[in-house]
């Protein structure tokens, strides 16, 4: 399986994501922002960082990068896409996911480990997890405060599209939301960084459960 990782100017978790893809047992493929080509990826990760310096608004400029056109088409056709941190922000800005990520309510950057609960196993990125399973994942963001209007929020809850929920809310997110998916459930955005806990050498590989989920989906 080929897993593409987009690289925007200012992405800084791209190399970590590429490394994690190797650890999950797939072939990492670097997707340069200026090339409108997914290079035959079977799944795509939009990694964290500060694309275009987060200038204007996190993710606001990256959504216009050339690589986004084929990515949007891939997503519409049901291809599995995972946005992590800044990647989540990019997918929201590109309207591939609903809602927006505002500044943390305490107005500070938050780097910590947080406990989250997997709220649905019915996405390609959580298929290998149990619903209700608790994971400890790292967060590192300044704009991770998930916001959506009341109607959207109700729909997300009713349709089981909240993917991860914080057990200790680090940023003020509505309904403690740490991750959501689109209507077709193939596009997932999460603020925590599964790629940072993909290697037991660093103390935990709980993030591999999320990343490896996509492998199971691919064999169906």
């Amino acid at each position: 399986m080929r897993v593409g990782v987009t690289v925007f100017p200012g992405s800084n978790c791209d190399r970590d994501a590429l490394h994690a893809v190797k650890l999950m047992g797939a072939e990492p493929v670097e997707l340069w922002h200026a090339d409108a080509d997914l290079k035959g990826s079977d799944a795509v990760i939009v990694p964290g960082g500060f694309s275009y310096g987060d200038y204007l608004r996190p993710g606001a400029i990256a959504r216009f990068a050339k690589v986004m056109a084929p990515l949007e088409e891939f997503a519409r056709e049901g291809g599995p896409v995972l946005g992590v941190c800044n990647g989540f922000q990019v997918l929201c800005e590109a309207h591939l996911l609903p809602g927006a990520l505002l500044q943390n309510t305490h107005l500070r950057f938050a780097c910590d480990r947080v406990r989250v609960r997997v709220e649905t196993a019915d996405t390609p990125w959580t298929a290998a997890c149990e619903r209700g399973e608790e994971l400890v994942l790292p967060v590192a963001h300044n704009e991770g405060n998930y916001f959506a209007d009341a109607e959207t929020l109700a729909r997300l809850e009713d349709e089981g599209r909240v993917v991860l929920r914080y057990l200790e809310n680090p940023n003020g997110s509505m309904n403690d939301i740490a991750g959501v998916c689109n209507e077709a459930r193939n596009v997932v955005g999460v603020m925590p960084h599964p790629e940072r806990v993909s290697d037991s050498a660093l103390g935990s590989d709980e993030g591999l459960k999320i990343l490896r989920s996509v492998l199971a989906g691919a064999t169906v």
Partner: protein, 739 residues
Amino acid sequence: MLGLSDFEYDRILELLGRVPNFLELSLFSVMWSEHCGYKNSRPLLSRFPNEGPRVLQGPGENAGVVEVGDGWALAFKVESHNHPSAVEPYEGAATGVGGIIRDILAMGARPVALLDALRFGPLDDERNRYLFREVVRGIGGYGNAVGVPTVGGEVEFSEAYSGNPLVNAMCVGLIRTENLMRSRATGEGNLVVLLGSKTGRDGIHGATFASGELTEESESRRSNVQVGDPFAEKMLIECCLKLLEEDLLVSLQDLGAAGITSSASEMAASGGVGIDIEVEKIPRRESGMEPFEAMISESQERMLAVVEPGDEEKVLAFAQRYGIGGTVVGRVAGHGDLRVIENGEIVGSVSAEYLADAPVYEREIVRPEYLAEVQKLDLETIPEPDDYNEVLLKMLAHPNLRSRRTIFGQYDHEVGTNTVVRPGADAAVMRIKGTKRGFAMTTDGRGRHCYLDPRGGGAATVAEAYRNLSCVGAEPVAITNCLNFGNPEKREGYYQLAECIEGMSEACEVLGTPVVSGNVSLYNETARGPIYPTPVVGMVGVLEDVTCHATPAFKREGDMVVVLTGTMRPTGESPLAGSEYLEIVHGRVAGVPPKPDLAAEKRASDLVRSMVRSGLIDTAHDLSGGGELVALAEMALSDGIGLEYSVPEIEFMSGHGRLLENLLGEKGAGFIIAFPEERWDEVQDALSDFAYDNIGYTGGERFELEGLIDLGMEELREAYERDLFGVPGEVLGGSEAVG
């Protein structure tokens, strides 16, 4: 504005044999500032030992480099950004981080870790709180975006730093030994390429500004402080690493203090060549800039590269790919001058050697009078406390000892996925992907100790760093340092500088950790007086097997806890002298702290390290600020596992002196270790030649010292985990109500 003395001006006249024009004088002004020219510190700095078996590059380059093994090396350096941070804390700190990253990049290394040593005035003052908050935001704002994890550092608060904060940033980079880059320009006819951002008027005469005392008017020099753009830096890093990978660079140098002038003249002087800069080709951010402004601007996020003719097209194409500027601005010349050419006309020409050869001032080292006064300490005035519960809570809540979680929670310490031991331990540990190896790093400074006893404090600073690395299981290899001092033209400042360097050098020799890079920040004085003399040591070490490391946290219930009691030579010095206890509880900074026993420091540290490396222990912490009691509380608080301590009768304790001195004294060479009881026989064998106390067991929800202390972990946590950025005394959700 130019900061040159009459003597220096005469010397310039003599060297040139003519009157320099304003541009030339500006070049001298910046290159002969203390910041660039080390004119007061150079003779003293030569005292530092700088050779060792792992040293690949000592002082004189952009950073020191040591060998790790398996073909890997570490480039590292610490640098100050004190003056800019005093007047514009966010940008001052941010550009301090940006600047030190480029120093590491100039060695050809990928920057992989940042640490910050910070000092501020007390937090009950609003201005100090503002400086502290904005400096931390600036470090995070830059480091987080640029994608280099901030893995360690330290902070202390004292009146001595009111109005003159210290912001020292350290960067560590990783490089294959064969790819080591040097900043030496060579090859007549080679092209000089300016990479990165455009040049503006920001930071004109920043180096000169940093080489004077801070005054009331300093605030008006905010325009001397540059503005950072971490996004531009990130792209500059990736572009330079790509150019190095493609083998397109002859030489690489960062642009820091004094901008192109400093970079070009240093590259020329070390290569024994000249450089012609065609100043009109330097891309400008604003119009109407004079040649001298373009030459000494300290605009950030720029690097200077030397490339062979024919390669420039490739280099510029890569710059374009990474979205950064790339312009050929000059060439390497056979003459030995830094020549500034504007539209074909030479507008300034000075020998690069002259610029690199600032005059040197050697001064007399005279013991200042304040020492006799502050070294007086009558222990009779320091009674045994009535209530140790209250003392411990008060100390844990003090900003000097409180948890740093609210600081490092604002720094991304995991990006890069190499961080094995995160902030909060004695030292940060990182792995090297694809090998079993790792490395560890720490920064340490002991300003109060150096103030009370400059030589002893200098040695103790190095010893503390050595202990910290040993605790995590790393073999200490070398140090970088940032010498933060007052005005060297005054007797007190020069004495402190000379004596601290002597103490540090002695320690470096005994401990086998040479100095491979460093930076000097003098003139840290305000109308209130000088700062504490504060040499900051950044030490790096190597782990052969990164999985064998230790942290301070108690890890299991029922572990045995043993204190290696360190040594106290019978000199009559009390370990309470200069201690945190004396300052926090009695409001006094006085006495002569025990002289570090360097041989004992080495022996104890080496023992602890060998126990960690063999896997015998995974829990270790050194004794430093707050002594044994605070160290034990920190270990318990890390993961919330309590302690039951059976206090031995005082005559049976292996330390000397009173109970208070044993529990809260700071005597050096001490450690606390914990391990499962079944290893006791093995541990006992390892400890056979050492003085130690077997004090009790981990476990439970309480922190108990038999008959002295009985506190719930929750009470300890409330004191220790208070937000450092809160307003002292203000009740915030009840958390500030205690104490």
